[in-house]
């Protein structure tokens, strides 16, 4: 699925000497494919940036993802987003 494809492409880009970050929606796939740096977001498939037409939320997720570039740890770096899931508090 999409999350695997992102990880595979990300690995190829990082291997050429470009620093990479990604968003992932599926923890189990990220743990297998091991993209160098990924932010795990609590949203349903189809919504990696949270909500459509919500630039504030989208910028918050992008900022959190870009922060992974400053992490001095050794990849794979997989961090959970601090954003709340869209279903939190509603069910």
């Amino acid at each position: 699925m999409c999350n695997q494809s992102v990880g595979l492409i990300q690995r190829a880009v990082e291997e050429t000497g470009i620093s990479t970050v990604s968003i992932t929606l599926v923890e189990s796939i990220a743990k297998r494919v091991k993209p160098p740096r990924a932010l795990l977001v609590p949203y349903r498939l189809g919504h990696p940036l949270g909500e459509p037409n919500n630039p504030t939320l989208q910028h918050a997720i992008i900022a959190e993802t870009l922060e992974l570039l400053q992490d001095e740890g050794t990849p794979p770096i997989l961090k959970s987003s601090s954003q709340k899931g869209e279903f939190d508090g509603q069910n």
């Binding site: 999409c2 595979l8 492409i9 050429t16 091991k34 459509p52 279903f87």
Partner: protein, 156 residues
């Protein structure tokens, strides 16, 4: 939380049809520049394409080049998976290809610049051999030759 459990079931169902690659380590290119000096490129696997481009097929490992200068509203969503609700990306491309958000970051000076082109792939690829061996390395080389420092990738 019931909804999240339901999503997990959907993911588990679709994963039965995918042979997920398994790696022991990650490649590592540390970022040596401040972000506000970096050239950034975006990569999406939402299958977006331009009106003049050929739509994606299922299991399609090819890619489409998306010029930085386009208006995001002209993009079509080519991803054919039934695993997700497409209404979100049909309403706002930035949900899976945040080009407008990155243009705002460029104006604000938070990133150095955006590359003149970005890349779109299909996501639901059950046989990724050609992606791994050919098309992903091709795109990586093009970004390298463009002098890109950071690639930001999004699934759908």
């Amino acid at each position: 939380m019931a909804s999240i459990r339901k999503i997990d079931h959907i993911i588990q169902f679709f994963m039965k049809f995918y042979r997920i690659q398994r790696y022991k380590t990650s490649p590592h290119t540390p970022l040596c520049l401040p972000l506000n000096e970096c050239k950034v490129a975006l990569i999406t696997t939402a299958g977006f394409y331009l009106p003049e481009q050929v739509p994606f097929d299922s299991n399609d490992c090819s890619y489409r080049e998306i010029p930085n200068s386009i208006q995001t509203q002209v993009l079509s969503a080519g991803h054919k998976s039934e695993a997700y609700d497409k209404r979100g990306i049909e309403s706002d491309v930035n949900l899976a290809f945040p080009l407008d958000r990155f243009k705002e970051l460029e104006i604000e000076g938070k990133i150095g610049s955006l590359n003149h082109r970005h890349f779109s792939f299909m996501g639901s690829i059950t046989k990724p051999k050609s992606l791994i061996k050919r098309t992903a390395p091709e795109v990586a080389q093009m970004l390298k030759s463009d002098g890109v420092d950071v690639a930001f990738l999004t699934p759908v």
